[in-house]
């Protein structure tokens, strides 16, 4: 890996514009792509300049054959195994990634980049539009999952990584994994799409729309120009997060964690205060989220997920998305995930079977809902370890 190049990139990163949002200082390396390297977006725009913030762990071997790309979920970021610069929390996937973990940073060179359109250092709607000198806001072009993947491919080119040993991610990250395997099959040796689907369901689009409407209904959103006006649609974004957070859990998990227990009180107050623990918990989730996330970025990324339909991109036949693929797949779902239920994963498996791609499928028994992929799930770890170790042997790592 050309470390000097990325160090330079970091040093050259413009300091203007990204201070616009408190969450915008990446505190991580960034790769800059200038006007000479535009990204052809699905929306029909040749987008430039832009930058991609990323983090790495481990060392790229001499053969450059041990690279792992981690794709993060909707509100995730590049700090997969690094203390978060805003929340000061441990990396979001330290359960799965690290020394001696299934994605072993002692053996593999692990890369994770903030997706295009997000707000943790990669260019998004909170970034400054060079044409106007103001934040893009809604002038930012709509990006798709495929655009995110193309930007990641440009980053890998920049880092001197010819192909990936493993591409892994959950939820929106899993969509990117599927898109990678479909768009660049020869660059993906093994793929692990987790708790995801090859398309966003009507129900999922519906939940996203509720979240977006909550943001847009907040007067502080100001038609997306809130950064110019020095305001933040915190109420709207908080409500959006509260609603979405329910979809990441499950009824049994909520019952186990909160039940009908009251929050620091012996009896209901006969008011609209947060009497119940679950209310207090959700309000806390909303409040802490708005401190680290940009409302417009939330609009754009939820839209990118809504537009994702890999079958539609291939004449309505999902199998065609993987025709001739030599990639080995391990698809995983969780029994209590009702956002991306097992049926969604099975549809991926059937498509891969139809084109005779080597595919494994594991349904993990868990009551933790969609978020299970981020949590301590021994079955997830043992299955991932088995698959990744065997893939490493097959690749001679």
């Amino acid at each position: 890996m050309d470390s000097t190049l990325t160090q330079d990139a970091e040093a050259r990163a413009p300091r203007t514009g990204f201070e616009a949002s408190p969450a915008s200082d990446p505190r991580s390396p960034v790769a800059l792509f200038g006007a000479d390297e535009p990204l052809a977006l699905d929306a029909g725009v040749a987008f430039a300049p832009f930058r991609i913030a990323y983090q790495t762990a481990g060392t790229l071997n001499a053969e450059r054959s041990n690279a792992v790309l981690i794709c993060h979920a909707l509100t995730g970021d590049q700090h997969f195994a690094h203390r978060h610069p805003v929340t000061n929390k441990p990396g979001w996937w330290e359960t799965l990634v690290g020394p001696g973990k299934p994605v072993d940073t002692d053996r593999y060179f692990v890369v994770c980049s903030n997706v295009l359109g997000s707000c943790m250092g990669s260019t998004g709607p909170a970034s400054i539009d060079p044409a106007t000198g103001r934040p893009y806001g809604l002038d930012f072009p709509l990006v798709t999952i495929r655009d995110m993947v193309r930007a990641q491919a440009m980053l890998l080119d920049r880092l001197g990584i010819p192909d990936l040993f493993l591409c892994i991610g959950g939820s929106m990250g899993g969509m990117q994994v599927l898109q990678w395997a479909s768009l660049f099959p020869q660059r993906v040796f093994a793929a692990m799409p987790i708790a995801t689907g090859a398309r966003h369901s009507a129900q999922n689009i519906a939940f996203h729309e509720v979240g977006r409407q909550a943001i847009m209904a907040d007067p502080a959103w100001a038609e997306g120009r809130y950064l110019d006006e020095g305001s933040r649609p915190s109420k709207g974004l908080g409500v959006a997060r509260m609603g979405a957070h329910i979809t990441y859990l499950s009824e049994p998990a909520l019952h186990r964690k909160f039940g009908r227990r009251l929050q620091n009180r012996a009896a209901p107050t006969f008011s609209f205060n947060a009497d119940f623990q679950i209310e207090s918990y959700l309000r806390h989730q909303g409040l802490s989220f708005v401190e680290r996330f940009d409302a417009n970025a939330y609009l754009y990324l939820t839209r990118a997920m809504d537009y994702f339909d890999l079958a539609e991109d291939h004449g309505g036949v999902l199998a065609h998305a993987f025709r001739g693929s030599k990639t080995r797949f391990c698809v995983m779902s969780f029994t209590s995930d009702w956002l991306f239920p097992t049926a969604d994963s099975r549809a991926i498996v059937h498509a891969l079977n139809a084109v005779a791609a080597p595919v494994a499928f594991v349904e993990v028994e868990s009551d933790k809902g969609h978020d299970a992929f981020l949590l301590d799930e021994p079955t997830l770890f043992s299955a991932a370890r088995g698959f990744i170790d065997a893939a490493a042997r097959a690749r001679g790592l």
Partner: protein, 242 residues
């Protein structure tokens, strides 16, 4: 009135302890790492480099054997999480799933060989499963416990009890085997479905193949398991080619 029922229950309870031939029926436990005899039989039926689907592949030992000895491109379907995990560790592409529901999603002629070992009697709809096997695979290797074996017959005829053997080790109320058949029954189904029997053999109680070809009725009496190599019949072949 409950007194009479109690007496019957007691009698049944006494008889349940120790069926006389259970111990004699025990198959030799293969030493760790050594291949099972029924797996060796399958190995002999699979061509090198074939694409193989093993349905109900367990811990993947047959697939691993086929991969290592025959260089096959193997896939598995397995219901249990433990089995799926074991297969993943062996680097085998295995799908957690169910023969009754998942086979419909495989395209025609997807595999050179489809193996269904000791499972057809546990499916909800054996005939439909067999139809799928013949559709998905150019060849089908299928094995099942023979319910016509003389010990099974003796158990029913003389003791009036559902047989419990090494291959069928569970009592009637907990067995997953819901569609028992005899070797003869299976031959009948093959004829009904226009499936061509390319090869067939019966395995003895110790899992060893019978050395000589014998009339069906003999195999049906002394074979503990039936192993069949099937292909689509001519009519089905013609349909699939259209």
């Amino acid at each position: 009135m409950s007194g009479a029922e109690d007496r019957i229950d007691d009698r049944l309870g006494d008889a349940a302890s120790g069926a006389p031939w259970e111990a004699a029926e025990t198959l030799p436990r293969s030493p760790e790492g050594a291949a099972r005899i029924d797996h060796i039989v399958v190995l002999g039926l699979v061509a090198p480099g074939a694409r193989v689907l093993d349905i109900g592949c367990g811990d993947g030992s047959l697939l691993a054997l086929l991969r290592d000895r025959r260089g096959v491109d193997g896939r598995g379907i397995e219901l249990s999480r433990e089995g799926v995990n074991a297969c993943l560790s062996r680097g085998l592409p295995v799908i957690q799933g169910d023969a009754d529901t998942d086979l419909a999603n495989y395209p025609d002629d997807a595999f050179d060989v489809v193996v269904l070992s000791q499972t057809i009697q546990a499916t909800r709809n054996p005939r439909i499963v067999l139809e799928h096997l013949l559709r998905i695979g150019r060849q089908v290797i299928i094995s099942f416990p023979n319910f016509g074996h003389w010990r099974v017959r003796a158990e029913l005829a003389f003791r009036g009890r559902m047989p419990v053997t090494e291959i069928m080790p569970e009592a009637w109320y907990e067995t997953p085997n819901i569609h028992h058949c005899t070797i003869r029954d299976f031959v009948g189904l093959c004829r009904e479905m226009d499936a061509r029997i390319v090869k067939a053999t019966a395995l003895g109680v110790r899992g060893r193949p019978m050395r000589f070809s014998m009339p069906w009725w003999v195999w049906n009496l002394i074979g503990a398991q039936g192993v069949f190599l099937l292909r689509r019949g001519r009519a089905a072949e013609a349909t699939s080619r259209r």
